[in-house]
């Protein structure tokens, strides 16, 4: 391309007679001039002639050129006049170009410069429009826009002044615009074609898609071979090969399409799995309270059970054999074994499982806590004097079962355990002892609601009667009532649909799904638009329409199958990661969506079926709509696309990337905006916000009163504190298990740990005296039960105390605190009499008296007799030791004088304590003298703490980290999903804009051709494209609400089945106003119903 200087130079040379220079000018301007001439005369041949003549004439008269700079204008001037002459000669009136002529021009060859019109058809149509202008205007347009002449030059060429030329240009432009608008359809020039087309097509496809999508989705895999068989032998092979060839040439489109489809499937699959997982959690939580059985009978004999099951066969029957009960710290717990796996009782395990072998056991965590036990699965425990391997720890919910408590009052006078459902399971013994009672559970025997309820196939009243008869009508304390006002039922109703986690997840995921659908759709639109032409060619060659569509359909089905499979794989993977995160990092209950729980699988939709149907339907709709569209296009030919691909269009339209960028942002903003609007102004949205902003109570509180953050505690170690030992009450007896609650840390170790506050509490220590209120200070309150050792019921214990020569003395219960030097040093300011002598403490000669109020209780240097009982690990007292000690100092620890940490370490529920160091305690012979709590304001080197210490550790930084994770689980995942959506939106938008540019190619090129600047087009596209986000918002919001409603219904179904009201479950309650029912040891039978 020459620049103006070159032209001027060459013109000068030509003027001087250089043939070469003129040849160069000829080559440079021939095409342009030919085009210009062609616009002004009708016949191409004439145009060639005129062009040639123009150059001849120019060569002849080059000497007349006044200024070399105006060579171009001069050349056009000659051509223009030659054209005018020709037109006069032929008298062809080009002014009256009607519609037909306009169309005629469409099929004429075109020689527009490539910059202005991108594809052939565009060129044609543009040319037609320009051709239809009057000659003078046509000339102005061409000269000004196509040949880049200045207004002055244009004026010169057409032989007028600048103002007149400008006027002509203005009129020409106006005419052009109106013509273009007429051609394309007024107002539609810059409409958002893709999405309005989508909208229109969605309407059209509504009915069609319903049936077609279902059919396509259901038969996807099966239909591929069927459709392939429709293509006869060689054709099938050839067309299939052709399709592969097509996709191998369009790898990017293929990748984009597959990506969108896979993403869609993955999103949907993951969403459904997550919903299902949540539903499982909810359902399991309900089962944890109620179990899964309808009716439970205790000790019903075989003939009665046979009678019942003959009336109606239960869906499932399970039996628990209770062997007896065990007393743990005054509470009786039933223990027994299950005949088979307990499904109906639905035992929630914290860890482990039911025992499988004889010497294995599973114990409720409540029972373990009662025994002060803090073990883990795999430990050896003693139950009833026998050793078992702990195989499972049952969650607390199981203890709170209605079945565990309902007959508390009724049973407390009998031998049968107040918790008839065993909280301790052992493996079935080889020689099973005689069972105390059996529990038989049934499911699927209660049907209907309210008055229509039937139990075992008979009306509720009949059943009541039958049971009363069987279990003793004379003791008619048992009755049935319909469970209308059960507070638990109300609780379940409340819990219906309140899983906010599920809800917000669904909102966001469904938006993502909608975007993914749009994405698939727009990609398909591009691909189908691209291929429309190809299929037209195929038809001409001799491929029937049917075969073409069979090919399309086969391809679609293949895509659906591939995308579904890959997408589900990705969805499952994503869900698995999510689930693992929830279980491991956030400590959710481990109830996955993948459950084999019969009741859940029976009562919920299969998530895979739902997700498969959903995503397959969406894709099938997209594909089918595109097929339908392409068929419509064939007839209408609105968009005459030839060979240019969307990709090349995007490449040629750099500016469109900027548009895309801005629009994507606006799209995302608007979608988020609508979401936020939904959140803030709808009740569901508010609930969602509540969930997000809900702050769980700060978990930095420890030991009941301290706050790690406020009290400057970085790390806290703790052993399980011992339960108070109660001696003297016959019914309570001696504890079954004495837990090891000491840390095993001695002074040396603690001192090595650095800035550590350590403390422990030693129970089971007594002060004793020959006389009542002897030399212990008048104000010590004697524990009545300890006054006379002879009152201790347990013979073994009593004997021991007698043998230890303490038996006849008066005992006073006292608790001894164990502290390290760090505590002692900080106590110095609190001493009210005497002084703290660490050496004396370590030697065991002295102890410190710790008082809250009464300063007269202990006198300094007063001598005391101290005794301490050491217990067996599992049963009874091991030994008793005694010593004489002196009070070295009296320390008053009321709130004013000690800080919070010290208060916690020293205080308890008594007014007085004795206090010593570990070394001192060992010298005196106090058992269990080990630190149980440690506090530090910095990180403690874990390596210095022996593993045997077995202390629970709490670290402020770890707690904070966990809190962070908890927050991340709500806010973080929202943000993640928003980012995820933004990416999806971006992808969708790029596809959309690609499609739009392709479809708007014609309009854009015309605008360019008539001289609109790129920035102006950009602006117009930007404004018109606001429709895209508006439309997507509308669609997204509708879809969100619709989808959420549906999913909610689905989700509620899961929960409501377990709800007593809706299941028509009845409850049997005792009538406590009637006379007390006493159960004899072996024959008593009771029954009750449970939801």
């Amino acid at each position: 391309m020459m620049n103006n200087n070159d032209v001027t130079e060459l013109a000068e040379k030509a003027k001087q007679g250089s043939k070469t220079a003129f040849e160069k000018l000829y080559k440079e301007f021939y095409q342009k001039l030919y085009y210009f001439v062609k616009q002004n005369v009708s016949a191409p041949d004439a145009a060639e002639d005129i062009t040639a003549e123009t150059f001849c004439s120019a060569m002849e008269h080059i000497s007349e050129l006044h200024s070399n700079e105006s060579f171009v204008g001069w050349l056009y001037c000659i051509a223009y006049h030659k054209c005018a002459d020709y037109n006069k000669k032929t008298a062809t009136d080009r002014r009256c170009i009607d519609g037909a002529a306009e169309l005629a021009a469409l099929s004429e060859p075109v020689f527009l410069p490539d910059d202005y019109a991108v594809n052939t058809q565009t060129k044609q149509q543009l040319q037609a429009v320009i051709d239809s202008l009057p000659p003078d205007m046509r000339a102005v347009i061409i000269l000004y826009y196509y040949d880049d002449l200045s207004l002055a030059e244009v004026a010169k060429v057409i032989g007028t002044n600048k103002n007149n030329a400008a006027q002509k240009l203005h009129t020409a432009r106006k005419k052009l615009r109106s013509k273009i608008e007429k051609l394309i359809g007024k107002g539609s020039l810059f409409s958002a074609v893709p999405l309005s087309a989508v909208l229109a097509n969605l309407e059209n496809a509504g009915l069609l898609s319903g049936a077609a999508a279902t059919a396509a989705a259901l038969g996807a895999a099966a239909a591929v071979p069927v459709t392939l068989s429709k293509l006869s032998g060689g054709t099938a092979k050839e067309l299939t090969r052709f399709t592969f060839k097509y996709w191998s040439k369009h790898k990017k489109s293929l990748a984009a399409l597959l990506f969108s489809g896979v993403l869609l499937c993955a999103v949907v699959c993951c969403a459904f799995l997550q919903v299902r997982g949540e539903a499982n959690r909810q359902r399991h939580a309900i089962y944890d309270i109620y179990g899964q059985y309808d009716v439970m009978l205790i000790n019903a004999d075989d003939s009665f059970l046979n009678d019942l099951t003959e009336r109606k066969q239960p869906e499932k029957t399970e039996v628990i054999n209770v062997l007896g009960d065990i007393d743990i710290y005054g509470n009786n717990f039933a223990y027994g074994y299950a005949e088979n796996s307990i499904e109906l009782a639905h035992i929630p395990f914290k860890s482990g499982h039911l025992p499988e072998k004889e010497n294995e056991a599973a114990v409720s965590i409540g029972v373990l806590k009662q025994a002060g036990y803090n073990g883990t699965v795999g430990d050896t425990i003693r139950i009833g004097g026998k050793e078992y391997t702990l195989k499972g720890i049952i969650n607390e919910e199981y203890d709170n079962r209605i079945a565990s408590q309902i007959n508390n009052d009724a049973l407390q006078n009998g031998v049968v355990s107040p918790t008839p459902i065993p909280l301790i399971y052992i493996g079935k013994p080889a020689n099973a002892p005689k069972t105390l009672y059996t529990i038989t559970m049934f499911s699927g025997v209660v049907k209907g609601e309210d008055e229509n309820t039937t139990v075992f196939g008979m009306p509720i009243n009949d059943f009541t009667e039958l049971v009363s008869e069987e279990f003793g009508a004379e003791n008619s304390m048992w009755s049935f009532q319909l469970n209308n006002n059960d507070p638990n039922a109300a609780k379940i109703t409340e819990s219906k649909g309140t899983s906010e986690d599920t809800r917000w997840l669904m909102i966001l995921l469904s938006i993502a799904a909608v975007i993914a659908v749009l994405s698939v759709f727009s990609i398909l639109r591009i691909i189908f638009a691209q291929r429309r032409n190809t299929f037209e060619i195929l038809r001409r060659i001799g491929v029937s329409k049917r075969k073409t569509y069979v090919l399309y359909t086969t391809e679609c089905l293949l895509f659906i199958v591939i995308q579904t499979i890959v997408g589900f794989g990705a969805g499952i993977l994503f869900y698995t990661i999510l689930h693992k995160f929830q279980v491991n990092a956030l400590e959710y209950a481990d109830y996955s969506a993948f459950t084999s729980d019969r009741l859940i699988t029976n009562s919920t939709y299969d998530p895979f079926v739902i997700a498969a149907l959903f995503s397959a339907a969406v894709m099938a709709v997209s594909y089918l709509v595109c097929i339908v569209l392409s068929a419509i296009r064939e007839h209408r030919r609105i968009f005459g696309l030839q060979k240019k691909t969307a990709r090349s269009m995007i490449n040629t339209s750099l500016s469109c990337k900027i548009i895309t960028f801005i629009q994507t942002i606006s799209l995302t903003l608007i979608i988020l905006g609508s979401m936020l609007g939904y959140i803030y102004y709808s009740s569901d949205g508010k609930a969602f916000m509540n969930y997000l902003t809900y702050e769980p109570p700060a978990s930095y509180d420890i030991a009941g009163e301290l706050n790690m953050e406020q009290d400057g505690i970085e790390e806290y170690y703790c052993c399980q504190k011992p339960n108070p030992i109660i001696i003297g009450d016959e019914s309570n007896g001696i504890p079954l298990m004495q837990p090891d609650y000491s840390s095993g840390l001695d002074d040396d170790t603690v001192n090595k740990l650095g800035n550590v506050t350590a403390a422990g509490e030693i129970t089971g220590t007594f002060l004793y005296s020959d006389k009542e209120n002897g030399n212990l200070g008048s104000s010590i309150i004697v524990d009545e039960s300890l006054k006379d050792i002879s009152k201790i019921s347990n013979k073994e214990c009593r004997d021991f105390f007698k043998n230890g020569n303490i038996g006849s003395k008066h005992l006073y219960s006292v608790t001894t605190k164990l502290v390290n030097e760090q505590v002692l040093k900080s106590l110095e300011s609190s001493v009210i009499s005497g002084k703290i002598d660490i050496d004396a403490l370590n030697s065991g000669k002295e102890v410190i008296a710790l008082v809250s109020f009464d300063t007269d209780r202990f006198k300094v240097q007063e001598e005391l007799n101290i005794a301490a009982a050491e217990f067996n690990e599992s049963y009874g007292i091991k030994s008793v030791s005694s010593a004489k000690i002196k009070i070295g100092a009296v320390v008053k620890v009321s709130g004013d004088t000690t800080n919070r940490l010290l208060s916690h370490v020293l205080s308890g529920n008594r007014d007085y304590y004795l206090m010593t160091t570990q070394q001192g305690a060992q010298t005196i012979g106090l058992p269990g003298a080990k630190y149980t709590e440690m506090f530090s304001d910095c990180h403690i080197d874990g390596g210095l703490i022996p593993p045997s210490a077995n202390m629970d550790k709490m670290s402020l930084s770890e707690l904070k980290h966990k809190r962070f994770l908890e927050k991340a689980s709500s806010l973080g995942s929202v943000i993640l999903l928003i980012v995820f959506m933004a990416i999806l939106g971006f992808a969708a938008y790029f596809n959309g804009i690609g499609l739009k540019i392709m479809l708007k190619e014609y309009e854009i090129s015309i605008m360019r051709a008539v001289g609109t600047s790129r920035s102006r087009i950009r602006r117009q596209l930007f404004i018109s494209n606001l429709r895209i986000p508006l439309f997507s918002t509308l669609l997204a919001s509708t879809a969100v609400i619709a989808l959420q409603k549906h999913l909610h219904t689905m989700y509620d179904k899961v929960v409501s089945i377990a709800a007593p009201n809706e299941a028509g479950v009845i409850e049997f309650t005792e009538d406590i106003n009637q006379k007390q029912h006493t159960l004899s040891t072996s024959q008593s039978r009771c029954l009750w119903f449970l939801p």
Binding site: L106, R539, Q642
Partner: protein
């Protein structure tokens, strides 16, 4: 022999109804080279589409010898097209994803034809060195020649051309016309060319002029 009887084609319904062809009766003998001329919108392209079985006539029939196209369904028509008609269009219409050779051989493979004279065709059409190229790598003239090769690969009796030189420069256009003339003379193919170019029409043995959907001059 190709014969039409009262061939009528209308688009749309009611007020928007457009009659593209209105009772056209023409007869074209085997081995003729006929130009169909007329302004755009006159119905000449519609006529070509009906002759080629690409469209269904609203009324009337098209006979190829004794075969009645109007009684055939789309599948049969396609089969007929595949074996008996070669199309050449203004916009070369090669499938962009296939090379020239693949484009040319595509109809042969669809027709399960084992022996084809493609190499002769390439030589005759002077595209021997271009057969492995994709359409985008070929000039307009080369593309059109490849499109003609494709139209001829199944050795059809009839070649239908819609503005075959319309998108070519003068020299290339002349080459294409010479080729068509040669096919007509040497292989006795029936060639029907739709054009608005009187110069091209002049090279044909007969001219049929269509105006407003009616035969003005046969």
């Amino acid at each position: 022999m190709i014969k039409t009887q009262n061939l009528t084609k209308t688009y749309g319904k009611g007020e928007g109804k457009v009659t593209a062809l209105d009772g056209v009766d023409i007869t074209i003998k085997d081995g003729e080279m006929v130009a169909i001329i007329g302004k755009s919108g006159s119905g000449k392209s519609t006529l070509l589409n009906l002759l080629g079985g690409l469209d269904k006539a609203t009324d009337g029939t098209v006979f190829y010898d004794d075969k009645d196209l109007s009684t055939m369904n789309d599948t049969k028509l396609s089969e007929f097209r595949l074996k008996n008609i070669g199309f050449v269009f203004q916009f070369f219409d090669l499938i962009p994803e296939l090379t020239a050779e693949e484009n040319v051989m595509f109809p042969a493979k669809l027709a399960k034809k084992k022996e084809t004279a493609e190499s002769d065709l390439y030589s005759a059409l002077d595209i021997n060195d271009r057969v492995k190229h994709y359409p985008s790598e070929m000039s307009g003239g080369q593309q059109q020649r490849a499109a003609i090769a494709r139209a001829l690969i199944n050795d059809p009796d009839v070649i239908l051309c819609d503005e075959p030189t319309g998108n070519l420069d003068k020299a290339s256009g002349e080459e294409v016309m010479n080729l068509l003339k040669k096919l007509n003379k040497e292989q006795n193919k029936t060639v029907i060319i739709v054009t608005h170019d009187s110069e091209i029409a002049a090279q044909c043995t007969r001219t049929i002029e269509i105006s407003d959907g009616k035969v003005k001059r046969a």
